[in-house]
């Protein structure tokens, strides 16, 4: 979970934990990159607007790294423009959640994404980002 807003991190951690997931957190882009490289999480929830290194940069660098390119990235951001979603898709995201979101549903959402990736639908998930299907 990479987000500079403590409140958002807390929301995600509590609700994902309720679904039995383990959450590790970073408060900015640089820390998030380091953490992802080190821990190789099953999925990254990534904010976009962060000081210094933003979420786009994090996603790009993860996609370029040999060890991190397979880690699925779900953007979780206040940026709701179509152009932003398209960028998220181009950067290889598998999901795009716009704030405000329902944290209660986030556990089920992440499970769904992971199982679809397992079924080989990663590319389809990516295309769904800008195809207008709301989550």
């Amino acid at each position: 979970m990479v987000d500079d807003e403590r409140a958002i991190r807390l929301l995600c951690r509590v609700n994902l934990a309720a679904s039995g997931m383990e959450v590790i957190e970073a408060a900015d882009g640089r820390a998030g990159l380091e953490l992802a490289r080190k821990e190789r999480p099953d999925l990254v929830l990534l904010d976009v607007m962060m000081p210094d290194v933003d979420g786009w940069t994090v996603a790009r660098e993860l996609a370029e790294g040999m060890e991190t390119r397979d880690i699925p990235v779900v953007f979780l951001t206040a940026r709701a423009d179509t152009a932003d979603k398209r960028l998220g898709e181009q950067l290889g995201g598998v999901g795009y959640l716009v704030k405000p979101f329902d944290p209660v549903a986030i556990g089920d959402y992440v499970e769904d994404v992971l199982s679809r990736i397992e079924r080989g639908e990663r590319e389809q998930l990516r295309r769904e980002i800008s195809s207008g299907r709301e989550r």
Partner: protein, 674 residues
């Protein structure tokens, strides 16, 4: 003293008849075209005899015709001899016909007429008597020639005088309509009985500008007539033909048939035409610079003799001079109008570009020069595609309208001097070309963009605290999960602080709106800036990160006149910014000093700093240091704008000094209380 040629002829003939002891005599002169002989003087003949002999052909079988053709005198002794020589004259003047002498009138060998004398008895002409008659004729010829020359000179002088007067009149005013009306007046009755001037109007129609006659009643009548019988613009004669061909139309004698054709069966018209008594007409074009502007018509009717070639010449010259005067007046008026229009357009903020039909620039006002970056001198007279290479793309989507329609501008970008400018273009097509109006909407567009940026920014800014509040409430209401007490407390606290953050953003939007509308009221009172600063530090200290060291440095500052609440608002904002832009921590100092009659409050930090290019812009409304806003340092883009507005409303100044990577210093300078 004899003054007119006619009087001279009469005097000569009378004297000749008396000296020769003749019974009667006549003088015939060859007409201008050389084909006819006109009897200009006669004496002693019975009128009924002469009735048919006022004018006859040069090749007619008569003694006078023969004399004029051969230049040799004829002496006939008796009527028997005459009838033998000229059988066709056998019936003429038979009862009193006797001897007859016809002698040529010649000057420098050229025969221009003949004098004939009839006697009341038969005469065998002795040689000396013949010589006498010839000598008499020679003297007569000289006298006639002299008088004719004199008359011609007189006529010439009159024409010159008339032309001089006309020229003076034509030059007297630029109101050529009025001048031409006066010119028509000048022509009657000296040049003709009637004078009319017709002009070609803008649509190619014929407009009667003036009709003149000595009698104003007749003029009125002529206009009525024109109304009742409008001229046929396709007529093959007269003014329409002159206007079409640019050639004069001269009818020395208006043929009867022509009038008959015009009259047809119209009895009323026949009465009018008979009353007018039209004899002779001249219509000449008014031509200047190859264009036929109108026509001048002269008519000889009840008084004026029929027109001669000299009259036609005079009319042509008059028409030429009138045309030049009209042309000059029009050119002057156009130039003046153009100059006035140019003067007015020089002050219009919109760019005005006039292209002729070939796309050549004919007008380029200063605003057009400013918008396109091309000076008037560089644009005028050149094809617009050369002047502004992007012109085609600039105007390709512009729908050209008819004059008078509401403009429908199209906004397009052009690059001027390396900068992109947005220009609203509209165009109107008219007969002479196209007028384009260019409006530089770069600033409006930039403002529009910052506005829409702001809406996007504001929505981003509102989404995060909303997400926190909504998410906390949703999580707290989960009944499938047992939350720890500390988590619950954190969520409640989150709701409170994020709701406060939301309120603050909404507040700023409101305040900025009020500042714009001038609706913010300040209460200027005496206050101690150090106290206000201390309060700001105190409240900020409760929520700054531990990495920030916050301190107040106030040394005996002077009392100032300000609104303490608004000053607090400004300082809170500046301190918040200092903290926000110091993500790596550092010192944030609030320093208050008296400074040369004013009070200076500095907010110093050691944070990110502001690039020098941006320093002047950060106080602009909606301006954000990081417009992509990907770097998360949130805000509405209104904080500094509000601060500056408030400080200036307290008669103070807000400035910034900064070095990227080293930190910033924001300074509020307020006047010391008087």
């Amino acid at each position: 003293m004899a003054v007119t040629p006619e009087q001279v002829l009469d005097a000569i003939l009378t004297e000749g008849v008396r000296a020769a002891e003749a019974r009667a005599g006549s003088i015939g002169v060859v007409s201008e075209d050389g084909e006819r002989i006109e009897l200009l003087a006669q004496i002693g003949y019975r009128p009924e005899v002469m009735e048919d002999w006022q004018e006859f052909r040069v090749d007619a079988p008569t003694p006078m015709s023969d004399v004029i053709r051969t230049g040799e005198p004829i002496f006939i002794s008796s009527v028997q001899e005459r009838n033998r020589l000229y059988p066709s004259l056998a019936q003429v003047g038979q009862e009193d016909g006797h001897a007859l002498v016809v002698v040529p009138l010649a000057v420098e060998g050229r025969v221009f007429g003949a004098i004939s004398l009839s006697f009341d008895h038969d005469i065998e002409f002795e040689p000396e008597r013949r010589e006498m008659k010839i000598a008499l004729a020679r003297q007569a010829a000289q006298a006639i020639t002299r008088s004719r020359l004199y008359a011609a000179e007189q006529a010439m002088r009159e024409r010159m005088t008339f032309l001089a007067e006309a020229s003076q009149l034509l030059a007297s005013s630029l109101d050529y309509n009025r001048t031409l009306r006066r010119l028509a007046q000048l022509c009657v009755p000296r040049l003709a009985d009637w004078c009319a001037i017709d002009m070609v109007d803008e649509d190619g129609g014929i407009e009667r500008l003036a009709v003149a006659h000595e009698d104003p009643e007749k003029v009125k009548w002529a206009y009525e007539l024109q109304e009742r019988y409008p001229p046929d613009p396709d007529a093959q004669r007269g003014v329409p033909q002159v206007l079409r061909s640019g050639e004069p139309d001269f009818l020395p004698t208006i043929p009867e048939q022509l009038l008959e054709d015009a009259i047809g069966d119209d009895h009323e018209l026949r009465r009018i035409v008979d009353e007018l008594g039209l004899k002779s007409s001249i219509a000449v074009p008014l031509i200047a610079r190859g264009r036929t502007l109108g026509a001048l018509s002269l008519i000889a009717a009840e008084r004026h003799p029929v027109f001669t070639a000299a009259d036609l010449e005079l009319a042509i010259e008059l028409g030429r001079r009138a045309a030049v005067a009209v042309d000059n007046a029009r050119l002057y008026r156009e130039a003046e109008r153009g100059a006035n229009a140019a003067r007015a357009l020089a002050y219009v903020a919109d760019g005005v570009v006039l292209l002729d039909r070939d796309g050549t620039v004919r007008h380029w006002n200063p605003a057009a020069a400013a918008i396109t970056g091309v000076s008037e001198d560089d644009a005028l007279g050149r094809p617009v595609a050369e002047v502004v290479p992007a012109w085609d793309s600039l105007t390709t989507h512009v729908q050209l309208l008819a004059p008078g329609s509401a403009p429908r501008p199209v906004t397009v970008p052009i690059v001027v001097g390396g900068h992109e400018r947005w220009v609203a273009v509209s165009g109107v097509k008219f007969g002479g070309g196209t007028v384009y109006a260019l409006q530089d909407v770069t600033e409006e567009r930039a403002l529009e963009k910052t506005r829409s940026d702001f809406v996007a920014t504001a929505s981003h800014e509102l989404r995060t605290p909303l997400a926190a509040v909504y998410g906390a409430v949703r999580t707290l209401r989960r009944d499938d999960v047992q939350l720890s007490e500390s988590d619950k407390a954190q969520f409640l606290e989150m709701i409170e602080s994020e709701a406060t953050r939301l309120a603050k953003i909404v507040d700023q939007i409101l305040v900025a709106g009020q500042l714009d509308a001038g609706a913010v009221e300040l209460e200027l009172t005496e206050c101690n800036p150090a106290e206000v600063a201390a309060g700001v530090i105190e409240s900020a200290a409760t929520h700054v990160p531990e990495s920030i060291s916050l301190s107040l440095d106030a040394r005996e500052p002077p009392q100032i006149a300000c609104d303490p609440n608004k000053l607090r608002q400004v300082l809170v904002n500046l301190v918040d910014n200092a903290v926000k832009y110091s993500p790596d921590g550092g010192a944030v100092v609030l320093r208050v000093r008296g400074d040369n009659g004013s009070c200076r409050i500095d907010v110093l930090d050691e944070g990110l700093g502001i690039p020098s290019g941006e320093q002047s812009r950060i106080f602009e409304k909606f301006y954000r240091l990081d417009p992509q806003q990907t770097h998360g340092v949130g805000g509405s883009g209104l904080g500094l704008y509000i601060c500056k507005e408030l400080v200036e409303r307290m008669d103070g100044r807000l400035t910034v000094e900064s070095e990227p990577g080293k930190g910033s210093r924001f300074s509020v300078v307020l006047p010391v209380r008087a």
